[in-house]
């Protein structure tokens, strides 16, 4: 059994059939680029993995565990999801980070705020970002914070859904190289050429 599996997925969305009998297997540490044309359900696919979209038919498994209402929490705790919208919780950045690591499941990570300083620099964010309100940040800044949060959560599977939209070219290359360098199972949803020729397996439908 592969690390991540979609088996015979059927999904209707607004009366439109998006998947009918879709199959996909992804191995551990594999890096995959979903580059299907718009409207084919790329985001729905990754949301199915997180249990936010439930297929009408078919089965999904993550690390040998079939996704159901009972297993959804443990599966979510294996996945880091960063989306284009980067909906980080509202509030002052440093408090938001602290709050996330106070969630029961994340407490074992022993988070210290001092690690953030280096990460802000890596992501080209000013140090005073920590004291700012999430609402006052730009979309690109929020995305990078969500990436830092994702890296710090240290989970096995990363889903990066259109994360390069708010970034300039140099920063884009720098961040994509950084992220792809990790030994994680990485699923990328994007149309950006920046991911091409970097050894990702391209999946389209």
């Amino acid at each position: 059994m592969a690390y991540l599996e979609f088996r015979n997925i059927h999904l209707k969305f607004d009366e439109r059939l998006i998947f009918s009998g879709f199959n996909l297997a992804i191995e551990q540490s594999e890096k995959v680029l979903f580059c299907a044309p718009s409207g084919r359900g790329k985001t729905s696919l990754v949301k199915m993995l997180l249990g936010f979209v439930v297929p009408d038919q078919g089965e999904i498994s993550v690390a040998g565990v079939t996704l159901t209402g009972e297993t959804v929490n443990s599966i979510r705790s294996k996945i880091t999801y960063v989306s284009q919208d980067a909906d980080i919780p509202k509030g002052i950045v440093s408090e938001v980070f602290a709050a996330v690591f106070k969630f029961q499941v994340n407490r074992r990570l022993n988070y210290q705020e001092t690690v953030l300083s280096d990460w802000l620099e890596t992501m080209s964010l000013p140090q005073d970002t920590l004291g700012k309100n999430v609402d006052a940040l730009s979309g690109g800044e929020r995305q990078r914070l969500a990436l830092i949060l994702g890296i710090l959560l240290d989970r096995d599977i990363w889903i990066l859904d259109e994360i390069t939209t708010g970034l300039d070219h140099t920063l884009k290359i720098q961040i994509v190289e950084l992220l792809l360098g990790y030994d994680k199972t990485i699923l990328v949803v994007s149309h950006d050429d920046i991911y091409l020729n970097r050894g990702l397996r391209e999946v389209s439908w």
Partner: protein, 243 residues
């Protein structure tokens, strides 16, 4: 009623489409109050604890139905949780007031039991509607943020907490504002009624303080219980909001 005539004429001349609803509302109010008056008169004469309590449960049920409808919840799943959620704190409060504050021999005495419970419930009702609406519509409007919190491995309680807190605040804010300004802006209805029927102002003040404190307390616990009880059936196995 004579003063209604110019209103109807002005509305008609200016094409303000209120007449039908206005007349219907006034008519309905009159019939409703006459019936309630007759009914209450009868209940007061009988003054049987069981009948009085049955009437109270009827009020709780009606308030529950009203909340469920206004907040767009499902009757089948949510009526009982809502009715329990604010029925129980109000019921405990009325017994407490009647027994320990007023010191009645019979805590189910219709003269106190029914009107005071009506005031408590009426206020809990409006508070509950505000609070429940804030909670569920907040979750619905911020679905992406809510899902992101779940994806960060917050459990259902942790991920809904911001909207839970918002709901309690939204429920209590108007109450606290009205407690602050009571008597300055307007005399409360209960005091006005008592004064009109011959009570001294200081007597009415004592009752008013008791009832305001009672309302504040039951409103607070009512909204907590209502959210806690309704949320059990408001999410699916994947913690997605079903409403």
């Amino acid at each position: 009623m004579v003063f209604i005539i110019p209103i109807v004429i002005i509305n008609y001349k200016m094409g303000i489409g209120l007449n039908k609803r206005l007349i219907y509302a006034l008519f309905r109010m009159t019939i409703q109050l006459i019936l309630v008056g007759l009914f209450l008169q009868y209940i007061f004469i009988l003054n049987n604890p069981w009948i009085n309590s049955a009437y109270i449960f009827f009020m709780i049920g009606a308030a529950g139905i009203s909340t469920v409808k206004t907040c767009g919840l499902t009757m089948k799943n949510q009526l009982i949780p809502i009715a329990l959620g604010f029925g129980v704190p109000n019921f405990i409060m009325i017994l407490f007031i009647n027994q320990f504050i007023i010191g009645l021999d019979n805590v189910f005495n219709a003269q106190y039991y029914i009107p005071l419970m009506g005031m408590l419930l009426g206020n809990s009702l409006s508070g509950n509607i505000i609070g429940i609406n804030t909670f569920y519509s907040g979750l619905k409007q911020n679905e992406r943020e809510y899902h992101y919190r779940l994806a960060l491995s917050a459990n259902q309680w942790e991920s809904t907490l911001p909207w839970y807190k918002e709901a309690i605040t939204a429920c209590m804010n108007p109450m606290i504002a009205s407690v602050e300004t009571i008597g300055l802006v307007s005399l409360p209805g209960m005091m006005t009624g008592q004064i009109l029927s011959g009570s001294m102002p200081m007597t009415t003040i004592a009752y008013q303080i008791v009832i305001m404190a009672g309302i504040l307390i039951t409103r607070y616990f009512g909204i907590h219980f209502s959210i806690i009880l309704t949320r059990r059936k408001a999410f699916d196995a994947y913690d997605r909001l079903k409403i």
